[in-house]
Symmetry: C2
Subunit: 350 residues, 2 copies
């Protein structure tokens, strides 16, 4: 059976960057069947919901899903459960892609783009493994109501044993293919779910962490250490909320957020969900100037983690590096290439 890649371009610059990833996929892996669908505001505009059951079904049947970005001011007035972001959360939950891999690495040609001094980021290569379908993002009860005469808003941060074990397993596996060090991050000094997280990761490590060195760090200390000495980290394992914040911080350390991809993986057999770390960037949407590299590197991750095409992935990664070495730069990187021209440069380097 032919493998299928479902493209969900979404909103803002999403369609622009995904179109370029599509060109690369067509050139590099012509045997993969490419489909397209709607998500986020684009889906809301067409169907009144940011993710239709039919699109979720198509995603479930695909070999991999490549998403652009969702959201924008156009949908600010839309009800909470119909917002573009709700479509993204429903897609993650619906696919049960519980392990979000967010690499933060620095292409040699782009070291100067970082806010940090060169010696702090040169050679930086962190992989953040973020739990993606649990924690305070989905915990019940949650709401805004009145209790004892006081208005209040509340959420539940909760993790169960299997939720932590399965994502810890992924972190250990990934670490084995790297420097074999995992730093698990929580606030076990003030949160019970954090203490449970630490205990469960420690147990999982004893059982599944052979060959991997595990250490623990508080989330606030990790936020500091990422600034002070980011190269100390190999794999960072964190829950949904801490992973959200720390992976964005780590991504920005590289100075080129327009370069960074992510992969969200589930159990074996479940299609992976791939998306740039950047958002829909409504301010530059429609101008054809967005950097397509994050989307193209998300395709690279899809080739590697879902489509079993490691060699094509290696080729693509090298081509991006080569294009950068040759000076190809979109605006965000200080150059003047258009979205399409940047993809051209990568195609030329393939």
């Amino acid at each position: 059976m032919r493998q299928t890649l479902l493209l969900l371009p979404g909103d803002g610059i999403g369609p622009e960057v995904v179109a370029q990833a599509r060109r690369i996929a067509e050139a590099l892996v012509p045997d993969v069947q490419i489909e397209e669908g709607l998500v986020g505001g684009a889906s809301f505009d067409a169907h009144g919901t940011p993710l239709t059951d039919e699109t979720l079904e198509r995603a479930r049947k695909a070999s991999a899903v490549l998403l652009g970005a969702v959201g924008g001011p156009k949908w600010n007035g839309v009800g909470r459960d119909k917002r573009p972001e709700a479509g993204l959360l429903a897609l993650r939950k619906g696919l049960d892609v519980f392990a979000n891999l967010r690499p933060a690495f620095c292409f040699p040609a782009l070291v100067e783009a970082s806010s940090l001094k060169k010696d702090r980021v040169e050679g930086l290569d962190i992989m953040i493994v973020r739990e993606l379908t649990g924690g305070v993002y989905f915990g019940q009860p949650r709401g805004i109501d009145e209790q004892g005469g006081l208005r209040r808003g509340y959420d539940t941060a909760v993790y169960t044993h299997p939720e932590i074990e399965r994502v810890a397993r992924v972190a250990f596996e990934i670490a084995r293919g790297r420097d074999a060090r995992v730093t698990s991050v929580e606030k076990s000094n003030v949160m019970e779910s954090g203490l449970f997280w630490r205990q469960e990761v420690t147990l999982a490590h004893a059982e599944l962490g052979g060959g991997v060195e595990l250490s623990h760090m508080y989330a606030d200390a990790c936020a500091m250490e990422l600034v002070r000495a980011p190269k100390q980290f190999d794999v960072i394992l964190a829950d949904n909320l801490f992973g959200d914040i720390l992976s964005d911080e780590a991504a920005m350390l590289t100075g080129s957020i327009g370069m960074l991809p992510s992969a969200s993986l589930g159990a074996p057999g479940v299609p992976g969900l791939y998306e740039p770390v950047h958002g829909s960037a409504p301010d530059i949407a429609g101008q054809g100037i967005a950097n397509p590299c994050a989307a193209i590197l998300s395709l690279e991750m899809a080739l590697r983690w879902s489509l079993g095409k490691e060699k094509a992935a290696d080729t693509l990664f090298a081509a991006v590096g080569k294009a950068l070495d040759r000076g190809a730069r979109t605006r965000d990187l200080g150059g003047d290439l258009t979205t399409r021209q940047m993809a051209d440069a990568i195609l030329a380097a393939l």
Copy 2:
């Protein structure tokens, strides 16, 4: 009645740095009566609890409390509610000091210490106002138990109307003495308590925020922006958990965490709690090499915010800057002064 300053040196380097702050206080404001007490591991060792009722009572009656730091590996095996950190949390809650002010600024003489390029941090001056007595730190229910056959750990992130209003008021007041801009931070896109936070801050702003410009930012975006362009911020208002993480990140941007103080304020008439941002640093405790500046600048904040001695505060702040300009540096700043010698340099500059 004579004003009293209660010193709670605590653990690790706490006693070393607080001893130097005491020398400065004795020289600068001899009219203030100084007392000492135990907190954290030191209190646990003496009394079996990290904060006695008697110490809390003394703190309540003081004009201001200056704390060193708590915690260390010595108390790793101690039960959760007797840990040194539990003493700190009980003190914050017991004094009801709900507004934690954490400045992140860069002394001109220390700009080079930052991981960030000079142009990104030169002149950096952010004030983080962190809610300190609510949120997921204290919300009920919380625990680790079994439900439906699954082990789980959980916490409740909760804020009420008055909790948000009172800390927002502080942020607006502080902003008026600065650049009059407040950025309120939450994850209202995924948390109900975050949405409530945004709504309540917006309401408080309409009522109490005259002259202050309010904007909103997601916590993950804020973690990024702090790295990319930290000088864009004036006052950042955040809940207990986001404030914990983002203030540590912001502190590290300056490159000299050993310099940074904090103040925790309650309702008018409640004594403020002042403490360095750094921890108890067990690795260097007892060697007399810790940087006392954060403790000394915490004293400076106490003079300013609780003791009504603005002029003495200004003098002290200037003296610290002068000592640095003259080249005074402890080890963490690349010099070789001892804790006491650094304080001597500041005393000499007074």
